[in-house]
């Protein structure tokens, strides 16, 4: 497939090269349309957010109030901190101008005059590269006052995170932007009603915004025909774990997971069998190796298989993987990253991890297995933000799909104790 998000063009990150290959022409085209038409184009394209929830982007944009005296904001989410997910940084490095162009088009469509790009604080090199790209775009008049001689003006600010996964959650991101502790907000009100600085706000993922210029340039019909019809477009899949060629691959949605693993990522070292995969970043439900045949990287297919696309960060684990260690480590991550605001997640994530740690060190008990599920169930759906769910799902799915591994451990430790 031709690549649209990470095209194979040397130095594409440089503004001149980007322009030579048609860069910023989508912005020009958009400025000639009326804003509602731009939103409509995105809506009809069926573009769905690449930040984890696959929410329809055009629909999200329509939530922004039109007759509101307050300023409106766009936050582009580049916090990218989920284990297994490392795709937005490829955009910062290789195609920052398409991100900027998409951001500008989004601002134009929603009548926004300030956009923030919130970038993961650890991304030192990419922060510099993106800032340079922004500076260059300002210098060429793509950002700032009266863009390309039109009445449309917008500023773009780059904001660095300070090392908290929770600040990728959209409402926490806004708190962080405002200089507050990264605590997610209770919803409703939703960001489009009350977001940054209490003003209407839209939050979209970096990759989502990078898709927008394609839609404007080539039209919604063209875009909607790429990949899976209900979840179309190019998608960046980050593949890590036990594969020969880990990395980020741009494919059309709907690609078979097996193709991704065996063709793109070069298969499993030593031709070992796959024991499990996590398809979309550590918060998505784990699948058994024998469940992935015929499953595709798109929202519907993965849902039917009992998991989700998430951020398309796929982790492959071969037959020798100690899944108890895997789930213990994943739980430790959510425990560490829980912001501590709401009771079930604050208390439950630590409890899960402490039990799993015992399984790891040979002190797991039979009754702990159902307890794990129960704790996870008690967190799921009862928290302020989705980090609680993200902590629960891996545990629930791991016990459901690999109960035997837990039982083996428990028996072994009970025998040792006896």
């Amino acid at each position: 497939m031709e690549r649209y998000i990470l095209p194979d063009i040397p130095n594409f990150h440089e503004i001149d090269v980007y322009e030579q290959h048609g860069g910023y022409s989508a912005l020009k085209k958009a400025l000639g349309m009326n804003p509602a038409e731009v939103t409509d184009e995105v809506k009809k394209s069926n573009l769905r957010g690449r930040g984890g929830a696959c929410f329809p982007t055009g629909l999200k944009w329509t939530f922004m109030p039109k007759d509101n005296a307050k300023p409106k904001y766009l936050c582009v989410n580049g916090d990218e901190s989920e284990p297994g997910t490392f795709k937005d940084r490829q955009i910062f490095e290789f195609n920052p101008h398409q991100l900027i162009e998409g951001t500008l088009i989004g601002c134009y469509a929603m009548g926004i005059t300030t956009a923030y790009i919130y970038i993961r604080g650890e991304y030192g090199k990419w922060i510099k590269m993106l800032q340079k790209a922004i500076d260059d775009a300002y210098a060429k008049g793509y950002i700032g006052q009266n863009i390309l001689g039109s009445n449309f003006s917008t500023n773009i600010y780059l904001h660095k995170g300070a090392g908290a996964y929770i600040c990728g959650e959209e409402s926490s991101l806004m708190e962080s932007l405002e200089g507050n502790r990264g605590y997610p907000r209770v919803k409703p009100p939703f960001p489009a009603q009350r977001g940054v600085w209490n003003c209407p706000t839209t939050i979209n993922n970096v990759e989502t915004m990078t898709n927008v210029p394609l839609i404007i340039n080539k039209g919604w019909e063209w875009y909607s025909k790429i990949g899976a019809p209900k979840h179309p477009g190019p998608i960046l899949v980050g593949i890590s774990g036990h594969v020969n060629k880990p990395g980020v691959y741009e494919v059309a949605t709907g690609e078979l997971l097996t193709d991704l693993i065996y063709n793109y990522a070069g298969g499993v070292p030593g031709n070992k069998k796959i024991k499990a995969i996590i398809p979309g970043g550590s918060s998505t439900m784990i699948l058994r190796g024998d469940q992935i045949e015929g499953v595709r990287m798109d929202a519907d297919s993965l849902k039917a298989a009992g998991s989700s696309v998430g951020t398309a960060g796929m982790i492959v684990m071969d037959e020798e993987t100690d899944l108890i260690r895997v789930i213990s480590r994943i739980s430790k991550f959510y425990y560490h990253e829980s912001c501590g605001q709401c009771t079930p997640c604050r208390e439950g994530t630590g409890w899960l991890w402490k039990i799993l740690k015992r399984f790891e060190t040979g002190e797991g008990r039979m009754q702990d297995i159902d307890l794990l599920v129960d704790i996870a169930n008690n967190i799921e759906g009862n928290t302020i933000c989705a980090l609680g769910d993200a902590a629960a799902w891996p545990v629930q799915s791991m016990v459901r799909r690999f109960r035997d591994e837990f039982e083996k451990r428990a028996k072994r430790s009970e025998a040792a104790a006896a």
Binding site: A164, I166, R181, V186, Y335, H336, E337, S338, C339, G340, Q341, C342, T343, P344, R346, E347, G348, T349, G350, W351, K354, I355, R358, L371, D374, N378, G381, N382, T383, I384
Partner: protein
């Protein structure tokens, strides 16, 4: 506001749109358990204790932030909700130290109460608990135990939203999250101790009251703070006839749920203080010695009789009740017949805020004036009285409880008096000059009313007994009667002073001078005020109730076009 129809636990309710489920339920007597929600603070939605089921919604929703909508059907007690609540309680308790036996909050702890009411009473947690610092002094009056904190953020929101200062914040994350003050800050705002009251657990405790008593050992009486003209509604906590603690009592018209630290700390200790006047005293050979009431009263009566009317002056008090001041002014005008009557105002200009504190540092200046403590036409005001003493025109002074000698310029002239009688509860700079000190009951020992700066009449109730109150339990609450000689609160056996309500003392002096004021109790005096004073017309103790009642507005001068 448009109204909507909703159903909560099968009860159909009409409610204002925009209100939350928890508010509407509360107004209809349906209690939804909650930790972080507080009616006067913003909604934070963090504790998850208020989860309820709303039909047609996939997830449980928090009642504290979900607004009612037409046709909404809410369940607050069904199986799913009970299960979720049990889960929240279990989560809250896994890292809780379970300090109840040594925790000051025990007995009035939401976590403890809810554990009995809304939890399975059983924990499946078998891991090491998270440990955090204990006994941290957050500010001059508040101690903090991080292990007990359930991170509900009420205290943080109180400081931000009510006290208007950003002093508290959380640090760290997850179950290591900890409350602290901002660097270089202390929790030292003038309202800091309210966080102790709203903290649902024993994480924040009152540094002054800590370890003094278990709450179930105390009895509580509804009364009014004496610290300023706001007259915050409070509860006095007493054990063994000793006042131990003041806490605010909700009154949305006066103080909301709050009181200031000054009121809480500085306005009750004189009741138990060492320097309490425990019985009437007469100066003999230059020293005040305790005497019986009859002797003290006879002495005051005979002394006051021996002066010409114009040589006598009288000072009522903004610290005394309306009842005290009313009988006092009647006595002054009808028995002594002097025109020289006034009281001292204690205004500290600028020492007020737009929260509660008032610059008038007395609880009843409006009441004193309203019942008639003011110079009779041609009589002397306070300044003139002091000047009169200085010039030798005023030879005798009779004053209700107020430390008038502390007013600049007064102490210097008092020695010139030939006779000075004062009502006092404690030794102070004024009693040093007095010939007779009449042992006055404090606000905590008497029944009566006061008028706050909003012209609102509010009730004082006795919480501590005196010898006199033992005989006539004027105004005592039934709960205190029931506690008579109960083993946990032996108030009948604690120290009792031979002090009396000022109006009774005045009435005795009047009687000794030949005029009978016949009242059996404070409410009879009040009824007389209600008959005689226009602004009190129609009021009674019943109407004043627990939350007070406004005085009638002053008649406006007629406007001529």
């Amino acid at each position: 506001m448009p109204t909507v129809k909703i159903t909560i636990d099968g009860t159909q309710i009409e409610a204002d749109n925009k209100r939350t489920i928890i508010e509407v339920a509360r107004e209809h007597g349906i209690k939804i358990p909650h930790f972080c929600w507080h009616p006067k603070l913003s909604v934070s939605g963090n504790c998850r204790m208020c989860l309820v089921e709303i039909e047609k919604m996939p997830k449980l929703a928090i009642a504290c932030s979900t607004q009612v909508a037409d046709g909404m059907v809410v369940h607050t007690k069904n199986e799913r909700v009970v299960h979720a609540r049990n889960a929240v309680m279990e989560f809250l308790l896994i890292n809780h130290p379970l300090d109840c036996p040594i925790c000051d909050e025990a007995g009035e702890c939401k976590l403890q109460d809810y554990t009995y009411k809304y939890s399975t009473g059983y924990s499946r947690f078998d891991e090491d608990k998270v440990h955090k610092p204990k006994r941290i002094q957050l500010g001059p009056h508040v101690m903090f135990d991080a292990e007990r904190c359930i991170l509900c953020s009420r205290c943080v929101r109180f400081c931000d939203e009510i006290a208007g200062v950003h002093q508290l914040q959380f640090i760290q994350r997850g179950d290591h999250t900890e409350l602290t003050t901002f660097p270089g800050e202390k929790l030292d705002n003038p309202y800091s101790m309210n966080v102790v009251d709203i903290c649902p657990v024993g994480a924040l405790t009152n540094a002054d009251f800590r370890f003094k008593a278990r709450v179930w050992e105390m009895s509580f009486t509804d009364t009014i703070c004496q610290g300023c003209a706001r007259g915050c509604n409070i509860e006095v906590g007493v054990r063994n006839n000793e006042t131990l603690r003041l806490t605010p009592r909700r009154n949305d018209d006066v103080n909301g749920y709050w009181m200031c630290d000054h009121g809480r700390l500085d306005t009750f200790k004189f009741v138990n203080a060492e320097n309490r006047i425990k019985a009437p005293m007469i100066r003999k050979d230059g020293v005040l010695v305790e005497v019986g009431w009859d002797e003290a009263i006879a002495r005051v009566a005979s002394e006051l009789k021996s002066f010409k009317k114009s040589e006598v002056a009288a000072l009522g008090s903004p610290f005394a009740t309306n009842e005290d001041n009313h009988i006092f002014q009647r006595f002054v005008k009808e028995v002594l017949g002097t025109k020289n009557v006034d009281f001292v105002r204690h205004i500290v200009e600028g020492d007020e805020d737009n929260i509660l504190l008032r610059s008038d540092k007395t609880p009843n200046s409006i009441g004193a004036a309203e019942v008639g403590v003011a110079p009779v036409e041609g009589g002397m005001s306070f300044d003139a009285i002091i000047e009169g003493i200085h010039e030798g025109k005023i030879k005798a002074l009779y004053a209700l409880e107020d430390d008038v000698a502390a007013v600049p310029g007064v102490a210097e002239v008092l020695p010139k008096l030939e006779f000075f009688a004062v009502h006092a509860a404690n030794e102070n700079s004024t009693t040093r000059y007095a010939d007779v000190v009449l042992a006055a009951a404090t606000f905590a020992e008497k029944n009566g009313t006061m008028v706050n700066f909003q012209r609102r009449v509010q009730r004082l109730r006795p919480a501590v007994t005196t010898l006199e109150l033992d005989r006539a339990m004027d105004g005592f609450e039934m709960s205190r009667w029931d506690k008579f000689a109960a083993h946990n609160d032996k108030w009948g056996k604690g120290p009792r002073r031979d002090a009396r309500a000022s109006w009774k003392i005045v009435a005795s002096i009047a009687a000794a001078m030949g005029t009978k004021f016949k009242y059996n109790s404070a409410d009879e005096v009040f009824n007389e005020i209600a008959q005689r004073v226009e602004s009190f017309k129609g009021l009674s103790y019943l109407k004043v109730g627990k939350k007070g009642a406004p005085l009638k507005a002053k008649a406006m001068a007629p406007v001529h076009a």
